[in-house]
């Protein structure tokens, strides 16, 4: 393919990690301010400043709403008749195309049913050993004889993009371009023109791949998508491009950050690290607690379809509503000592994957990928620890949060 030849030359000097900062921002701990605002009221109207400055309110639009409480976030996400996902038609729609993210019922249910079978946990099992473990092992091979590594730069940042690329059945030579477009698309808010160009590049690239898969279907997601049929409907090419584009921020960005957040939680509390290291059956609660404690995506949006009230606060029809998942997950009315990571806490429900009919489609893939990554690190590196000579890492970001680095040491093999 001509497009990948030319791009390969540029890809040689490309380190995708260099693009990462623009996505996340530098806010370290937005939670004290969130606690303060939630204590005032779990629902606020008007612009909110969580440390990056408040947006300027548009006087021609209904006042925006921000939700900080767990029960209130769940209430909004369950009531998809009152609270519409069409709010994502704007920026996301322009860059991604029309996706399930921005659809309401009944369109959403049908469109999701077409792609959902590919993301069921049983279907994903086949990727576990032959794919995810292979990718993670290869990454570890490159540093295991060194005795130290930055687990963000050398593992977590790279593996989800490679996993998605392999699930799509992309040739290995294309991975570097694919990851670059993925990051450029995801960071569209920081660089609009570059994001839109990446979106177009992905369409052209996927068009070629889809043509090949129609002619010769394989054991991959794109082959599934060009053949799928639900209640007599099939996916148009445009719908497939859009879904594949959505997979990048949804499937790459989130998993890398969630895995980094879990690792940071374990590395900064040795009793938690030891507990999981010595009993891998604790993984489900260890990962879910990481998603509660530091969800990689901290905010999702809805738009009110009619005048309504939430926690006694009036919401005007048409108002945009920011649901702060991170704030909800640390609601003191629900969780004891909410700022502490504790895989043994009693209440495990959280909204880190969202909630309601739009709940993360890739949750089982994320859980499996992260489990394989952590288990493989444990098995290969043994009891790794934070590098005592490096600065103690921390989680940063606002809309997306994760550690920028995780310097560790281990016995070289």
């Amino acid at each position: 393919m001509a497009s990948s030849d030319t791009a390969n030359t540029a890809a040689a000097a490309f380190d995708p990690y260099e693009l990462k900062d623009v996505v996340s921002g530098s806010i370290r701990d937005p939670y004290p301010k969130m606690h303060e605002l939630r204590r005032e009221c779990p629902v606020h109207t008007g612009p909110i400043d969580l440390g990056e400055g408040a947006d300027i309110a548009d006087p021609n639009r209904p006042a925006p709403v921000t939700v900080f409480g767990f029960d209130e976030v769940v209430q909004v996400l369950r009531d998809n008749g009152t609270y519409s996902s069409s709010v994502y038609e704007g920026v996301m729609g322009m860059v991604m195309g029309r996706t399930i993210l921005q659809m309401d019922e009944p369109d959403h249910r049908i469109a999701r049913a077409m792609v959902a079978p590919s993301f069921r946990s049983k279907v994903l099992e086949r990727w576990e050993e032959e794919l995810v473990a292979v990718v993670v092992n290869e990454l570890i091979d490159s540093f295991i004889d060194r005795g130290h590594a930055d687990l963000v730069r050398e593992v977590t940042f790279n593996f989800p993009a490679q996993v998605i690329a392999r699930i799509l059945g992309l040739p290995r030579a294309d991975y570097s371009n694919f990851q670059r477009w993925a990051i450029e698309l995801t960071s569209v808010a920081a660089n609009w023109e570059r994001g839109v160009a990446a979106s177009e590049a992905l369409r052209a690239y996927f068009a070629g791949v889809m043509e090949e898969r129609r002619a010769a279907p394989g054991d991959d997601l794109i082959s599934d998508l060009v053949r799928v049929e639900v209640e007599g409907s099939t996916l148009s090419d445009e719908e497939i491009y859009s879904f594949l584009r959505l997979l990048l921020p949804a499937g790459v960005e989130t998993t890398y950050r969630a895995t980094g957040n879990l690792l940071l939680a374990l590395l900064t509390d040795r009793s938690q690290f030891d507990a999981l290291y010595n009993d891998r059956t604790l993984y489900p609660q260890a990962f879910e607690e990481a998603l509660r404690w530091e969800p990689p995506v901290t905010v999702i949006l809805r738009r009110a379809m009619r005048d309504t009230t939430l926690a006694g606060v009036h919401i005007e029809a048409g108002a945009d509503i920011a649901l702060l998942l991170g704030a909800a997950n640390r609601d003191e009315r629900k969780y004891t000592d909410p700022d502490r990571y504790d895989m043994f806490r009693e209440i495990r429900q959280h909204v880190g994957f969202g909630f309601g009919v739009h709940v993360c489609l890739g949750m089982h893939l994320a859980r499996m990928e992260s489990r394989v990554a952590i288990n493989t690190l444990f098995d290969r590196l043994g009891e790794f620890t934070l590098d005592p000579d490096a600065e103690v890492p921390h989680i940063a970001g606002m809309a997306f949060r994760s550690p920028l680095s995780l310097p560790v040491v281990f016995a070289a093999r």
Binding site: R109, R112, A116, R120, S121, G354, F355, G356, V359, M363
Partner: protein, 76 residues
């Protein structure tokens, strides 16, 4: 010792997220058409069943004891 829990799934609500299968794989499974089904209500301890029910993103799972529905979040 309490009477065993009964687990019900509202198929009009269920959207096949599979979250219940994650928390209680011995009790729940997904059918061919993508709905959750109960294979064995007694195969999972009550704490896990409660997590699975409360974690259902569309509130399709209810727990019953002796013909009475348990309120969400009730301690056993």
């Amino acid at each position: 010792m309490n009477e065993p829990l009964d687990v019900k799934i509202d198929w009009d609500r269920c959207m096949g997220s599979g979250n219940c299968v994650f928390w209680a794989p011995q009790t729940f499974d997904l059918s061919e058409d993508g709905h959750a089904v109960v294979i064995d209500a007694s195969a999972t301890d009550e704490e896990r069943l409660r997590i699975a029910a409360e974690g259902c993103p569309v509130g399709a799972i209810s727990l019953w004891r002796g013909g009475v529905e348990l309120p969400a979040g009730e301690e056993s």
